[in-house]
Amino acid sequence: MVDNELRDELSKQGVVLTSLAELYNWGRKNSLWPLQFGLACCAIEMIAASMSRFDIARFGAEVFRPSPRQADLMIVAGTVTKKMAPQVVRLYNQMPSPKYVIAMGACAISGGPFKQGYNVLKGIDRYIPVDVHIAGCPPRPEALLEGLMLLQKKIAGQRLTVGGGQPPQDAGELPVPSYGEHDLVPSKNTELWQPPVLAPSE
């Protein structure tokens, strides 16, 4: 690998030295197109992040696409209820890969303040894989931008070769839960999410 000093010298002369993966990821991470997917209160902070004060456009993520077929980032902003969960999974299935998910806000991470609710899904990572979790209720727009930058760092580190950094769901579509009599059926996708084991002393 060429060290950075040599690279800087060369770039001053007008010669840019890079690898294909770096170039490809640089293009991808600076032009993430989010899916316009605001569910609840966090959606308003997401909208505020795209407005003139906190400008998400400078990160390249200005075009919020209404259609999942044209988006590559799904920001799940707000509480996911059990009634809405099948729709979320269907939308995720419709996005072309490589696709990323940011769980914004406490509700999308684990049910949040509404965790005791019978209709509240206790975290969207029960059904779809999540790349970045942003804590907060609601997280400030700056926190969303920080989460976006974290995702950009993650994308920059992804390799192009097969088996390196590719998300696991490329094998096919995720199963969509259906409405049961008392709860969603199945209540979680066991391939994606296993509850951690409580320490015996707790």
């Binding site: 009634k83 005791q116 206790k122 009599e181 008392h182």
Partner: protein, 211 residues
Amino acid sequence: MPPLEQIKTLLENAVPGARLEIIANGSPSGQLSLLIDREHGLAVAEVLREEADLSFDYASNVTGVDWPEKIIKEKVKVKKTVEGVEKEVEEVLERKTPAYLEAVYHLYSIALRHGPLVIRLRTQNRSDQVTLPSLTPIWRSCELQEREVFDLFGIHFEGHPDLRRLLMWEEFTDFPMRKDYLEPDDYEYEPTPHDDVLEKARRHQAAEAKP
């Protein structure tokens, strides 16, 4: 707004056979309510809307309340013969309060700028006789709210144009706002478990630990 007793007499005269009762209110809000029997609910509601002095043209809020059976233990002094001697003995009497579901309506008058009038309708019991007359033909604002009461409590409103679940999905079978609703058990993971939530999470660990 005319006082509640006056409204009660007016309604009793207008709808013969209606059984009305004034329910007291312990809080300082002073909002007493009128209990109307099921058979004359629709007729009384129509009088409330049409009568010139009352003119309750706006139904603001429709709520369901679940009153399950409660066992009240009272200590009563009873005269009993104990070993041949008449004595006053303290006995504990158990009394069961009736179990019912209730629909509460808050009515206001936009024309005469008064309100609120609180009316209540009660079902027979909580299990099989859970029908009440729907007041949607009188006040259209009850349409969505009665659907919600049906969804969450299970009160069946007769005469409602479109009685389906509002908030939960169609295949759902329980009535979640009832006091005896059992939540689905999905507390497998709790980041900061405490009290009863910790118990629920532990139950899952025990169940999954079994081979």
